[in-house]
């Protein structure tokens, strides 16, 4: 049959997470269709139709879908489910919110955060904060899974899928969007940045946390944080990297003033190169770091910034 991928977007822009989920879907069942649900998101649907390997982009536009709340999204996906033998979503907070509802209504188990498609019904996914990898085989029937985007390459641009408008079922009317407070940043997004620099409790204050900014700007890096830094109010929740925050796998991850708890490592240990700056030579972060700089970050960070400037990074 076919597989359906839930597109990640904000009504204006299609996110790269979609392209990665498409790669996973293509290994499970083809053709691949992408569902773009939202309000006034025509441009997103057109972008989805350009992902290579996608046969059809389904576009559902309705005020009730504007925020992709779980209840109307469940109703929409259930109205389409019959035609698919796999339904996937990127493991973002949107996908994680919606997909288990769909799975339960279809009486189908969900496999969370697949890392690898071993065969169309068999997947690897992390358990215990990534300290173990479980290989599971789904029963006959539909495959329902969220996709760890850091583990898959993005499907290329350049496809020519057909665009089909579909009608959303009536809003179940159980929930209502009230408002949002989104972090604004000119920097690349954490989950798709090539370089990430993260700060921990060692930064000591929201004011000090800004020391990371200048280095981040020079390296065009995204800025992340440990849970302790978020809990202490240095930065908002969406900066958190880890088992229960965002999972990143950039080319370069720089951990500053972060001890390296299991839960933090779970979110970054698949980065290509890891740098740790910490004054405690025994900090566990050094066990996963390719390059460790033992020292006071309040000395090393300004030095790093200066040295980058000297070498022409702006």
């Amino acid at each position: 049959m076919a597989s359906l991928v839930l597109a990640e977007h904000d009504n204006a822009m299609l996110k790269d997470a979609t392209h990665k989920a498409v790669t996973a879907a293509a290994a499970i069942s083809t053709p691949v269709h992408v569902l773009v649900a939202g309000e006034n998101c025509e441009a997103v649907a057109q972008a989805a139709a350009k992902i290579a390997g996608v046969e059809k982009a389904l576009h559902a536009d309705a005020p009730s879908l504007a925020r992709q709340l779980a209840e109307p999204m469940e109703a929409l996906i259930l109205s389409l489910a019959g035609a698919y033998d796999a339904i996937l979503a990127p493991a973002t907070t949107t996908g994680k919110n919606i997909l288990p509802r769909v799975a339960a209504s279809l009486d189908t188990p969900q496999v969370s955060e697949i890392l690898k498609v071993v065969s169309p019904d068999t997947f690897e996914h992390p358990i215990y904060a990534g300290n173990a990898i479980e290989t599971v085989q789904a029963p006959a029937g539909k495959i329902i899974a969220t996709v760890r985007t850091a583990a898959f390459g993005a499907a290329a641009e350049g496809g020519g899928a057909t665009l089909e408008k579909i009608t959303a079922p009536a809003d179940p009317g159980l929930s209502k969007f009230i408002g949002e407070a989104l972090s604004k940043s000119e920097r690349p997004e954490l989950t798709s940045a090539r370089i990430v620099i993260s700060g921990g409790r060692g930064l000591g204050s929201a004011e000090n946390f800004k020391l990371l900014d200048s280095v981040a700007d020079k390296l065009h890096a995204a800025v992340g944080a440990s849970r302790a830094a978020v809990d202490a109010g240095y930065v908002p929740n969406d900066y958190q990297v880890g088992q229960t925050g965002k999972v990143v796998a950039p080319d370069l991850y720089i951990a500053v003033g972060i001890s390296g708890a299991i839960q933090h490592l779970a979110g970054m240990k698949d980065s290509r190169k890891i740098v740790a700056i910490n004054k405690d030579a025994d900090a566990p972060i050094f066990q996963v770091a390719d390059y460790g700089l033992v020292g006071d970050l309040f000395k090393s960070l300004p030095e790093l910034d200066e040295e980058l400037a000297k070498r022409g990074y702006k």
Partner: protein, 248 residues
């Protein structure tokens, strides 16, 4: 208003698990077990609702082996009123957990179910959403703050871009995120008091729920190990290395 809080007994968050040599699972023998941290947050929130006079009864429920009653006792010591243990020695997948919870909800008729957002052993992040779907209830996942009214709840949710606030009609399922509250430690008098609270014991069969696993675990393996790293002496040396590696 009655609040139901499912609490899972899991490996303590400080323990680094080891994969068994035969790849059949992880080694849980003689490992410290605790209440799932997100469920502690859920219990705390429910108890606070009771202290504010908004909830009348808090029921803690666990699905698991005999020892899961200790996890329920912890919830009772934090302030929950009574417990229910659905006893099984089997692994219970999220969908089956949700089905058991549905059966309990139908018998207990709570107005609110507060679950953790994820169990730190299976890391599934599924049960709350599945339960809401099976009941046809709304959900507010990854709760950062909660404002409860008589027939609705306003919940700020931790999402990838920041915070999103939704209002859900009651009854509803709420799942907790880390910043919702800081769970209390149970005091000694409350631990003593908890010993007198009742824990009702049931089985999945009593509830008419089939909990046979649907997913087949083929193996559990160790994640790839990172090669040993090195210490660098200076920022300059560090940048030289990164440049040579082609990452900056």
């Amino acid at each position: 208003m009655k609040v139901l809080v499912p609490v899972k007994r899991v490996i303590d968050y400080n323990v680094k698990v080891r994969v068994k040599a035969d790849q059949s699972g992880v080694d849980l023998a003689n490992v410290k077990m605790s209440m799932n941290p997100f469920d502690e947050i859920a219990v705390e929130e429910a108890v606070r609702l009771k202290e504010k006079g908004m909830a009348t009864e808090v029921v803690a429920l666990s699905i698991g082996p005999h020892q899961a009653s200790e996890t329920i006792r912890t919830a009772l010591a934090m302030g929950a009123d009574r417990g229910i243990l659905v006893k099984t020695d089997q692994t219970v997948e999220p969908l089956a957990v949700a089905k058991i919870l549905k059966a309990i909800v139908e018998a207990e008729r709570p107005d609110l179910v507060i679950t953790g957002k994820q169990a730190i052993d299976d890391d599934s992040n599924q049960v709350g959403q599945m339960l809401a779907a099976l009941l046809g209830w709304p959900q507010a996942t990854f709760a950062h703050s909660l404002e409860l009214a008589a027939d609705s709840a306003k919940v700020a949710r931790e999402i990838d871009g920041g915070l999103q606030t939704v209002e859900v009609k009651l009854p509803a399922v709420i799942t907790t995120d880390l910043r919702l509250n800081e769970p209390r430690y149970a005091s000694l008098p409350n631990i003593m008091k908890a010993k007198k609270k009742s824990i009702d014991e049931k089985t999945a069969a009593d509830l008419g729920v089939d909990i046979a696993p649907r997913l087949k675990v083929l193996k559990v393996s160790e994640p790839p190990k990172r090669g040993g790293g090195m210490k660098v002496e200076s920022v300059g040396a560090l940048l030289d290395r990164l440049k040579a590696d082609g990452v900056i």
